[in-house]
């Protein structure tokens, strides 16, 4: 299919970024897709800031301690927690996507008997387990952050 489509103009994405949030009755998988994007972009922004901050190491001890004093403020601590939460969400959902893309968690194919149920929805328990794990880890991390203060 990839070879057949080579050189052809792609179909138009008429919804653009708005399609991330709404285009009719989205199921939970579609909102997880949006959440995956948002957490991914957030983590990318954090990594950029992290690498710039690491560059201050080249300026020696004074320069490093100056930048670290900024990161010690409570605003940045909240930011650090959000990074941890984004990492948990992105990693667990990424693991689910990998398993489903590779067909490992889709189950056996079934005949298309009405009412039709696609393979993702037949295996929705995987999503509930993942969401419960996300919530548990996010709460555990929050407690660890608060106790650590």
């Amino acid at each position: 299919m990839e070879a057949a489509n080579k050189g052809k103009a792609p179909l138009q994405n008429r919804l653009g970024i708005k399609g991330w949030a709404w285009a009719g009755r989205y199921k939970i998988e579609r909102y997880l897709y949006t959440l995956h994007r948002l957490t991914g972009l957030g983590l990318a922004a954090y990594i950029t800031i992290h690498m710039i901050a690491n560059g201050f190491r080249l300026g020696g001890q004074g320069s490093w301690e100056d930048i670290m004093s900024i990161f010690g403020t409570s605003g940045f601590k909240v930011g650090e927690y959000l990074v941890m939460a984004a990492f948990i969400i992105h990693a667990l959902n990424g693991g689910r996507l990998m398993l489903q893309h590779l067909g490992i968690t889709l189950g056996k194919p079934k005949p298309p008997v009405y009412p039709y149920v696609d393979s993702l929805r037949r295996k929705r328990s995987l999503i509930w387990v993942m969401l419960a794990l996300m919530a548990a880890l996010a709460i555990y991390t929050l407690v660890a952050f608060v106790i650590g203060e």
């Binding site: 792609p10 990318a44 690491n54 190491r57 650090e80 990693a91 893309h101």
Partner: protein, 111 residues
């Protein structure tokens, strides 16, 4: 390489990041604040094991982020010529970011 191979590399990089960055986050944020003190940073910078760790994080991280951003941009129905420009721009950005980011731990290791 075909798209599916780049996607598989994305998965491999993601698994690598999960373990390396997971360890890095736990080590950095669940330990005491001493971890960001200059003496601790200097000690780690002089260690070949940590240098390897940082270089691997950079390789996996930069690939995963840039391939992910490419996937998002490609959803906006670009013509084939623009896809080529995008691909080369991403390669150049990746090489530049890696060059800048890897210089920091290497400088610390040598210095």
């Amino acid at each position: 390489m075909r798209e599916v191979h780049w996607k598989l590399l994305q998965y491999i990089a993601g698994i690598g990041i999960f373990f390396l960055v997971g360890y890095h986050l736990i080590f950095s944020h669940f330990q005491s604040d001493e971890i960001t003190e200059w003496s601790s940073v200097s000690d780690r910078a002089a260690n070949a094991g940590w240098l390897t760790f940082y270089v691997l994080i950079l390789i996996f991280g930069i690939y995963h982020v840039l391939h992910g951003i490419r996937g998002i941009i490609l959803e906006f129905s670009l013509p084939p010529s623009a896809v080529k420009v995008l691909d080369w721009s991403i390669v150049l950005i990746g090489v530049a970011v890696f060059g800048y980011a890897v210089y920091i731990p290497i400088n610390g290791f040598i210095g």
